[in-house]
């Protein structure tokens, strides 16, 4: 979709604010300029610029050979990315919605993720698989999921979930340079697309120069002493909103943005819980057998983890597919109120 935002021409200015999509694209463009081996494949990534602005403007600079529209054959082109990566290139392949993973999962999971291990390290697969995730605009059960847990569960892929423009750029630089397969999941609602207004948070100052954010470093987006809220993606912003409201009532919530699920920065989470004693995990994926359970377990199994832990709450999509109608979608996707409620419960204010 047409992107309103434009990069200011001033170089080096660091308080320039970008939408998340502009920040992502800036990192991709930079890497493509630096390295001829980087190219991007996907559906509607050329003339259209990506349904969610993930490649907006790149065709003009790099041409059709490097910003490639491909047939609606996810198995073939994601697998082709694996082959090209093993041949030494650095492909980025886009899965338009993460919900479509099922048509290409064998290549993702049995080739992209495993070839390094199955070859005993003889082969590397330096590629990025990008995909749009998330709901909040009533696109129903086949176009609204995050599937964080599905990708994080299966070893061999690094899994990145940015929540701000600043993080998106640094993590994308890192993703493209990484010698391993990276699944880069961007939330549609955060991208700053004209037709899908973003909340305030994700648009942040972004340095024009390149920089990387290492994987496995969670970011404490708000410090607090009473309750630890661990979350990622869109829900970082909902948690921050909740924290503001809670502050009015004298509850001081710490908000930890995981930023990557694999590797997972367990230490930052454990340190925070050691301080607060109370853990609320929030995500937009299905509740059971996913991210929220894992975070609880990582804390509980730590040395003195159980002793430190006074209260635990999970806030996630209950185990239902995403419904279409607004009242029901609102019901299942956690909002700030769900988070404040959970924090209050963890805080013992029921």
């Amino acid at each position: 979709m047409a992107q309103q935002e434009k990069d200011p021409a001033e170089g080096g200015q660091t308080d320039r604010s970008l939408t998340m999509s502009r920040a992502m694209v800036e990192a991709i463009a930079h890497e493509m300029r630096e390295d001829d081996d980087v190219f991007y494949m996907g559906e509607d990534v050329a003339d259209y610029g990506g349904i969610f602005d993930s490649t907006e403007g790149l065709l003009e600079e790099f041409g059709r050979d490097r910003i490639m529209d491909v047939p609606i054959s996810e198995t073939a082109y994601i697998g082709a990315a694996v082959g090209a990566a093993q041949a030494g290139m650095r492909p980025i392949a886009e899965l338009m919605f993460v919900d479509f993973f099922g048509v290409g999962m064998d290549q993702i999971y049995n080739q992209m993720a495993k070839n390094t291990y199955m070859s005993g390290g003889a082969v590397s697969v330096p590629m990025v698989l990008t995909a749009a995730v998330g709901g909040t605009y009533n696109d129903a059960a086949q176009h609204s999921q995050t599937l964080y847990g599905t990708f994080a569960h299966l070893p061999g892929m690094k899994v990145v979930v940015p929540s701000t423009a600043y993080d998106a750029k640094g993590l994308m630089h890192n993703a493209i340079r990484d010698d391993d397969p990276v699944v880069y999941l961007f939330h549609k609602r955060l991208m700053g697309i004209g037709w899908l207004p973003a909340p305030d948070g994700p648009k942040t100052p972004v340095p024009e120069d390149e920089y990387t954010i290492p994987f496995g470093s969670a970011d404490v987006k708000r410090e607090g002493s009473d309750v630890t809220v661990v979350t990622l993606g869109l829900h970082v912003h909902r948690a921050l909103e909740a924290a503001d409201e809670l502050a009015d009532d004298g509850i001081d919530a710490e908000v930890v943005d995981l930023r990557t699920l694999v590797p997972l920065d367990t230490e930052t989470v454990r340190d925070s819980v050691a301080k607060t004693g109370r853990l609320v995990v929030v995500d937009e994926d299905y509740r059971s057998f996913g991210v929220t359970g894992e975070i609880v377990a990582r804390v509980a199994e730590a040395e003195d983890g159980l002793a430190a832990l006074e209260a635990v709450e999970r806030v996630a999509v209950p185990d239902v597919p995403l419904p279409y109608a607004r009242p029901m979608e609102n019901e299942v996707i956690p909002d700030a109120e769900d988070i404040t409620d959970a924090v209050r419960a963890a805080h013992g204010d029921e």
Binding site: D69, Y324, D341
Partner: protein, 348 residues
Amino acid sequence: MVSVTDLQEMYEAMVTARQYEERLQEEYLEGKQPAFDISAGPIPGELHLAAGHEASGAGVCQHLRDDDTVTAPHRPHHIAVAKGVDLKRMTAEIFGRETGLSKGKGGHMHLFDPDVNFACSGIIAEGCPPAVGAGLAAKKRNTDSVAVAFLGEGAIDQGAFLESLNLAAVQDLPVVFVVEDNDWAISMPKDRVTDVENGARRADGFDMPGTRVDADDAVAVYEAAREAIGRAQDRNGPSLLEVQVHRRMGHFMGDPEAYRSDEDKAAAERRDSIDRLEADLRAHGVDDETIDELRSSARERVEEAIEWAKEQPEPEPADAHEDVFTNPPSGVTDSEPNVAKTETGGDD
């Protein structure tokens, strides 16, 4: 040869579909203007309109009974209308209402009407295997019903379609695959994604007949579909039919179509199978009055459906927790609201 009744029924279905979508478009844009916000207004989410595809739905479904199965893709309305899906409940579904076909859980890409064995879904070529399954059930139960899978020309490169051709062929199933070629897959023109101009050529590699027909002429679609469906009804196996249609609109509502030339768009608009079928009707001696009546009764049905739908209640938030299973596990709730939601009350 096609009968006047067939022509009239097809015309009715096509006009209904066109008018229906024109009205949906109006309703959809409400609250989304001036700056288009997909999540605002009474119909949120994506909306894919099929103006220019009508002859394909009508020409094929004219041969089908309620017990024949149809699976459709993300652009389903013209097919649903032609298949006889309950227009009121379909509309209520699109508006996300409690009395919608799926109680508001499905939306426009997930319309299910078991009374006429219609279903659609939002993933490319996803309806092909289930259509093969419906054909398999028909064969096993020894009925004379058939199954038809509709898909776009952009979907013919997807494994689900290609595998389905083979499975239907080797099992000799009563299945017809109908490819609606509207030249575009979102922003990608057909020649960018495949070297094969005529998708029906793929059929031969599975030992299946394949035909291509131009939907400017609804009667030609009707004739080609009769042969394919007849073959299935006679238990002579599956067929592939590619139908050249036109995309008069953007891929979805809100698509600026910056990738598309004005000329291409204008050409699509010029070639309207509804006009041509109207001429055919006249050639078959149907008078203006009858044609006007068909149009206005279509308009009435559409208005009635939309008005009815808008009066329907919205689902309750808690309804979201139901219908994961037909037979929900007793005593064990796997879908429950977030703990905080049930255990604490709003603002505390």
